[in-house]
Amino acid sequence: MDRSAAGVSYQRFPRVRIRELKDDYAKFELRDTDASMANALRRVMIAEVPTVAIDLVEIESNSSVLNDEFIAHRLGLIPLTSSGAMGMRFSRDCDACDGDGSCEHCSVEFHLAARATDANKTLEVTSNDLRSTDPKVCPVDQAMAYQQAIGTADPYDTSTASDHRGILIVKLRRGQELRLRAIARKGIAKDHAKWSPAATVTFMYEPDIRINEELMETLTLEEKTSWVESSPTKVFDIDPNTQQVVVVDREAYTYDDEVIKKAEAMGKPGLIEISAKEDSFVFTVETTGAITAYELIINAITVLRQKLDAVRLQEEDGDFTGLDAHLGVA
């Protein structure tokens, strides 16, 4: 790369290697980039990938023990399948309607009607009782049960149909009733955590572990064992044949410095050197089920690109509108 005095290019070409990919779980490596990129990706995945969640609730009748706001809040937190969320409009930008939920571009309507009639049993109203007007958007549990029924479920998924009992909304006693209309809209978790598609997104710096073999050999087997066991996570082990200390799981290391402290306590400083690789990250992504982990990553990259585009546009014409539109400031 040409490094002229006029402008140093810091362009790098990050690489991604996916290690594990399930419907709601992914583990991948991100290399050749720095912490700002990795953290930006994490932040976008948690807070800026759009999903659909119940946002407006119109309660027709509620004689349950929970008050209206409480039920509305609980409904909002139910994850809805949102694969189409990227293509939907934010209701505030929707031209077809005033964001009142009357158009299919920005909202999905749900209905719930439950009434307990059994005297001896409380009726559990769950997310399975929600009736969606759009088959693509429905509570995650419902979708999973459906997929299982038609046999397109994730082959790695070990859950059974009985696990998809739905998310409990409220319990009703005999004579109590809950009837409502709810409108789900697209949103991002910056506004409210209910729109977050991510249960957990975290990354770790890949550790670089160097054992000073020479010094290590000065230890007795007993000392080695106690040193290996000083790490709360299983990072090192002793080879049963050679009786040498080997690294078994680098990524189990939590940067807790326990082994370093232990080495110092044993009077062998420099026994081990551990440093974080500045440009190598291991991501763990878990989703709520609203979108798949794959979608989450891809959508996050898309959103991130859109944001960067907005910055670039602003650079070009000194205009903030692109970014503002995304952030919803305008």
């Binding site: 912490a35 700002s36 990795a38 953290n39 930006a40 994490r42 932040r43 948690i46 807070a47 309660i59 509620n62 023990v65 008050n67 209206d68 706001e69 409480f70 809040h73 609980r74 937190l77 978790a189 910056k190 409210h192 955590a193 209910k194 977050s196 957990t200 997104v201 975290t202 990354f203 770790m204 710096y205 709360p232 996570t233 299983k234 189990a252 939590t254 940067y255 807790d256 326990e258 974080a276 763990t284 878990e286």
Partner: protein, 1197 residues
């Protein structure tokens, strides 16, 4: 995070007797005392009222009115239909839970045949869960059916819909002569010293008379007691002689018997040779008055008292004197011999006190105190009120008889009319005792205070609610005292009053709380049967004699300590025993107590005050009386069955007992005094609330006190029956959790029914500056997901019958003109349930039946509310609604400025709500904290238990997580698997040997954490949420149970730009309610002056306050003389103003004094300055203003 939410349904618990027995136990003192009032106290009290004799002023007719039997009905909705009235209905309708009270009265005309009449005394409040309450003995199912909590424990009254209870007050221990030294005694008169022996004698009807035996400088003594509004003082010799037929020699011998020249000042010697001289002085005093026989003494007393004693105007002196002795002198004893003996004993004790052979008794020590319980207070006050009623009625009848000659006493109809006149005032007085806590009476009733007898049982949360019933107040008189001696924590209260649970500040040390194990002795056995004190006394006496006591017959033994000690039973000297045999007797009686012998009730107090040098006056005091503080301890005596036995001990005996801690140590005891008893568990010294602080022994003690305060302010579950509650204000947390780390008490008292907080993941780090100075950062996403969300419920009771103007009836109605169906107001004039209303929106309207005007009511305040509930309480005769309850619900989600606290006195204010992405995260779990607090909260406060809680909760959470992910089916069996954080657990000896566990809690939890891959000490490597880089330090993070406190900014913030001003000064008004400002006071002004912030100063104190432009006459310097000249042109322009408004002409002003407008100038000034000028003018002082244009601030002199 383990989300073990509190069980919402208590109804699942099987309806059996022992349900919530531990909770009910806490309320027993209240309920038992009231039960006694119902069972026996009322009738005993009525019988003890002396019949009222009225003699006709003109004829010789007499009328005797005596009271016979009281009838108290349970609360009824309709007396004729006998339809029960339930407490819930009372709360709802804001009425009282009370029953009709009637008394059978006997009229006896001229000693003829008595005639029975029944009088209605109005209504008496009925305590919930007492024997007259409809809910007594109800199981949880029935309680829920009647709209109560499943755990409803009663113990309070409902007055006007308010739940109020009578506060337990501390009184002097009954029937025990106390030696006291008090400066105030010297003020009784010349010659009085500061020493006296004081005894509070309690009669059968619970009324008490305090008798004081003062020591005079000349060696004599005076007996003092209060009669009416003054204290009467009698020479003790006269009283001694008047009590029984005795000789001077006998009195002399009785008094001096405690002195023997065999002993010098040694152990147990209480007397010296001076006693003979003093006895001589006492006898000489009587002889000086030439009173030689009993009759003479009685006549002397009678003569002195006849005018003061009511109802004895016609009786001879002897009868009066006997009544005085009966009613005022040592009233707990019926027998004059017993009184004589006790008086001799008191004299001996007094002399011992004077000679400093016995120490004074500390009236502030719990040892010499007992409790004033609701039932007893009501009995005493009711007696006073009925006596007052009799007095008033008598006066009315006599007045009528003197006025009206034809009025005859045999006209029972007329008599009845007069008696009925004041009868309902009796019920009303008791109601007001409950309602405002005032016991109005002419005499003090021997009570420590007249006001503040009752308090409201606030159900803010369960901690607060329980504490009300366990609180013991020392008396409001002490609150004003400058000295702090009464507030001190004394060792005598160990095990009875909680050393931790007292508020800081004004009531500190005066408002105490009973420990969780503390009980109060009562008239009932633990199984509920009434105690028969006569039988107990007889049997106990027989056992005492068997144990070696020499019974008293009828005069005192003529020896005294240290050879022989007196044996007292409830303030009566019953015998004596040689000091050598006394230990044996005490052990014998204690053994009987353990064996539940019928002679010894379980709460019998065996107060053995041993011989000592200059210590407490020795003796053996037995108490069976009610209202004593008692508590269970283990007796170490091994009985045949080998089981350790629980014995109830009292505060009096505890001071002389050897009770060891169960840690296996000897507590520094000498071998000659081995421990005879052992504490059951060290936590027995803590109150219920203090017991709930996990590992409180690891905290600095004031922090535990703060926690006790804050636990009572948390916003939690105030009740499960919230739907039926009509509290004026109720707080409710939407998503409470059961704490992971909890003490044994938590389960014992069913705190899961009323959880009060959330297990929040707390990170201890200073992350930006937003957690400085006890501020804390909350995770907005966690709040979004429901953490700490809550509501405030406010109930408004609208009663049109009380608000009506004149006689015009108002009803609820909606305007017929309004066809607006979207309005909140329904067709009945009341709001629709579930509707949200915004400030200033109409939500109910009333209709005036006369004018036909519709008057809507708008929502006050600045925040929206939801209509939670509307209830109709009653209709008028025409069937239209008159009284409704409207409950509003207001959202209170956490916002910046709300207050939170952990259970360790660590409170903080939310300073930022940050989204998940900005919070630091853990790389391996991805976990973000819910809450960030600053590490500086720990070093100076030393709340180690909070750190322990974090570690312990974390390791348990890991365990649960592992089990949940790997063995999903086991999840159910995890229930109840919480960390036990009972304080002092390591001080309890476990099994044999091994006095304490070698491991600390960290050593227990650390390996557990390490085994799950966490750091041994609970720290973790966190990464900045903003930059994704590793934080420099490892961060301590783990779940801590956090409480949300009820102080919320939404209820407190105050802001204003312009608004209402004061009429007089034109300055902004104060007060949040009226939209006023916050005072910018002198000290704030000083600060601005010091900073030289003159512009700001001018802005605050002038521009934004009472800015005013005044017209000043520069010629005469007056501020007040400016007047508007109504010139011709102005008049004209005024006429023109009827048309189009033209430019306002400049005011034409002139000085009234100078009669010219030449010198008129305008000056900006604060309006108060003008006001000052006006005020001064009113006092004929002229304020002269000199105006100048010069810029220098100081004019040249």
């Amino acid at each position: 995070m383990v989300t073990a939410a509190g069980k919402s349904s208590a109804a699942t618990a099987a309806g059996k007797d022992g349900e919530y027995a531990t909770l009910r136990e806490l309320y027993r003192p209240h309920i038992e005392s009231f039960d006694y009032f119902l069972d026996e106290g009322l009738d005993k009290m009525l019988l003890s009222i002396r019949p009222m004799d009225i003699s006709h002023p003109s004829s010789s007719d007499t009328l005797r009115i005596s009271l016979e039997k009281g009838h108290l009905l349970p609360p009824l909705r309709d007396v004729r239909m006998a339809k029960p009235l339930y407490p819930q209905e009372c709360r709802q309708a804001r009425i009282s839970y009370s029953g009709e009270f009637k008394v059978d009265t006997l009229f006896q005309f001229n000693n003829g045949a008595p005639m029975r009449q029944t009088f209605n005394f109005g209504h008496l409040p009925i305590m919930l869960m007492s024997k007259l309450c409809h809910l007594r003995g109800a199981d949880s199912r029935k309680l829920i059916y009647h709209g109560e909590e499943a755990t409803e424990m009663g113990g309070y009254f409902i007055n006007g819909g308010m739940e109020r209870l009578i506060r337990i007050l501390v009184l002097q221990k009954r029937n025990y002569p106390m030696g006291m030294v008090r400066g105030a005694f010297e003020k009784r008169g010349p010659g009085y010293t500061d020493k006296a022996v004081v005894i509070r004698c309690v009669q059968q009807d619970q009324t008490s008379v305090t008798v004081k035996l003062y020591y005079l400088q000349n060696g004599s003594a005076r007996l003092g007691f209060w009669l009416g509004a003054r204290e009467v003082l009698l020479p003790v010799g006269i009283v001694l002689k008047a009590l029984i037929d005795t000789s001077d020699r006998e009195i002399f011998a009785s008094l001096t018997c405690c002195y023997s020249d065999k002993y010098e000042r040694g152990k147990g010697v209480v007397s010296n040779q001076l006693i003979g001289e003093r006895a001589q002085i006492i006898l000489d005093e009587v002889r000086a008055l030439s009173l030689l026989t009993r009759t003479q003494c009685l006549e002397h007393i009678g003569q002195y008292f006849r005018s003061a004693m009511e109802g004895f105007e016609k009786d001879d002196y002897q009868t009066v004197a006997e009544a005085v002795l009966k009613d005022y002198v040592l009233v707990h004893l019926q027998n004059n011999h017993a009184k004589f003996n006790l008086l001799i004993f008191m004299l001996q004790k007094l002399y011992a006190l004077v000679d400093q052979t016995a120490s004074p008794d500390n009236p502030d020590a719990l040892q010499y105190q007992e409790a004033l319980l609701p039932g007893y207070l009501i009995t005493v006050f009711l007696k006073d009120r009925i006596q007052d009623w009799l007095r008033k009625s008598k006066r009315l009848i006599i007045e009528e008889a003197t006025k009206n000659k034809s009025f005859e006493f045999d006209n029972s109809q007329e008599i009845r009319k007069f008696l009925c006149k004041h009868s309902t005032s009796v019920g009303r007085a008791i109601e007001s005792l409950i309602k405002i806590g005032r016991a109005n009476s002419q005499s003090m009733l021997d009570l420590p205070q007249r006001e503040g007898m009752s308090i409201q049982a606030e159900r803010l949360n369960f901690h607060r609610y329980i504490s009300h019933f366990r609180s013991v107040h020392r008396g409001s008189a002490f609150a004003k005292m400058r000295t702090t001696t009464v507030r001190k924590l004394l060792p005598e209260s160990w095990g009875f009053l909680c050393p931790v649970h007292t508020p800081d500040g004004e009531p500190c040390g005066l408002l105490n709380h009973m420990t969780s194990a503390c009980r109060i002795s009562s008239f009932y056995h633990s199984e509920g049967a009434m105690k028969d004190f006569e039988k107990i006394k007889d049997r106990l006496l027989a056992e005492l004699v068997r144990g070696g006591m020499i019974p008293l017959s009828p005069k005192m033994e003529h020896t005294g300590p240290p050879e022989v000690l007196h044996v007292h039973l409830d303030g009566c000297i019953v015998g004596s025993i040689g000091s050598a045999k006394i230990e044996e007797l005490v052990n014998y009686i204690r053994r009987l107590k353990l064996l539940a012998h019928p002679a010894t009730p379980e709460d019998l107090e065996v107060g053995y005050v041993p011989l000592s040098i200059g210590g407490a006056y020795p003796g053996l005091y037995f108490f069976t009386s009610p209202a004593r503080f008692v508590r269970p301890v283990k007796n170490l005596v091994s009985l045949p069955d080998g089981e350790p036995h629980i014995e109830l001990i009292g505060a009096f005996e505890q001071a002389f007992m050897e009770i060891r801690c169960p840690d296996g140590g000897d507590g520094g005891r000498k071998e000659s005094f081995p421990a005879t008893h052992e504490e059951i568990h060290p936590t027995a010294m803590l109150s219920v609330v203090a017991n709930l602080t996990p590992w409180s022994e690891h905290n600095q003690s004031p922090r535990n006190m703060y926690q006790c305060q804050m636990a009572k302010q948390t916003m939690g579950f105030c009740g499960q029956a919230l739907k039926f509650r009509t509290d004026v204000k109720a707080f409710h947390l939407q998503t409470p959790q059961s704490p992971i780390v909890r003490t044994a008490t938590y389960k014992k008292y069913h705190m899961d029914e009323f959880p009060s907080g959330t297990n929040a993941i707390v990170a201890v780090l200073s992350y930006t500056g937003y957690d400085m100075e006890d501020a804390m950062i909350l995770n907005k996403s966690a709040v979004d997901r429901g953490m700490f969300r809550g509501d405030i419920y406010q109930t408004e009771c609208i009663d049109l019958s009380t608000t009506r103007r004149g006689s015009v009836a108002e009803i609820f109605a909606k305007s017929s003109l309004s066809r607006d169906s979207s309005s909140v107001i329904d067709s009945d004039g009341l709001p629709r349930v579930g509707e949200t209303i915004v400030p200033n929106e109409q939500y109910y309207s009333t209709y005036n039946t006369l004018t036909g005007a519709i008057r809507p009511t708008r929502l006050k305040g600045t925040e929206p509310a939801a209509i939670d509930y509307v209830a109709v309480n009653g209709t008028n005769s025409k069937g239209s609604l008159q009284k409704v309850n409207i409950r509003l619900r207001r959202k209170r989600n956490p916002i910046i400025g709300d207050k939170f606290s952990s259970r360790h006195g660590q409170k903080g204010v939310c300073s930022q709500l940050w989204p998940d992405i900005d919070m630091p995260f853990s790389a391996n779990t991805g976990m973000r904290p819910d809450l960030i607090i600053n590490p500086h909260a720990f070093p100076s406060r030393m709340t180690i238990a909070m750190l322990l809680e974090s570690i312990a909760a974390k390791s348990l959470a890991c365990l649960v997580l592992v089990v949940l992910t790997h063995y999903l089916f086991l999840a159910g069996s995890l229930h109840g698997n919480f960390v036990d954080a009972t304080p002092f657990a390591s001080s309890v000896k476990e099994g044999d040997g091994n006095p304490w566990k070698p491991k600390s809690i960290v050593d227990e939890m650390g390996p557990m954490l390490a085994s799950y891959g966490f750091n041994y000490h609970g720290v973790e490597v966190l990464y900045s949420g903003l930059f994704g880089t590793e934080l420099t330090c490892e961060i301590f993070i783990g779940p801590v149970y956090y409480q949300r406190l009820r102080h919320m900014v939404s209820d407190k913030f105050q802001v204003r730009t312009t608004g209402r001003i004061d009429q007089v000064t034109r300055q902004p008004i104060g007060g949040r309610k009226h939209g006023g400002g916050i005072r910018f006071g002198e000290m704030e002004r000083d600060a601005l002056l010091a900073h030289g912030a003159s512009y700001l100063l001018h802005d605050r104190l002038h521009s934004c306050s009472d800015y005013h432009i005044a017209d000043v006459c520069s010629l005469c310097g007056s501020l007040l003389t400016a007047t508007v000249i109504k010139s011709e042109t102005q008049m004209k322009s005024k006429r023109n103003m009827l048309g189009v408004q033209t430019v306002k002409p400049p005011k034409n002003l002139a000085c009234q004094a100078c009669q010219t407008n030449k010198g008129m100038e305008t000056v900006a000034m604060p309006y108060v300055f003008r006001y000052l000028a006006a005020e001064l003018a009113a006092m004929n002082v002229k304020l002269d203003l000199r105006l100048s244009n010069r810029t220098e601030s100081h004019p040249q002199q």
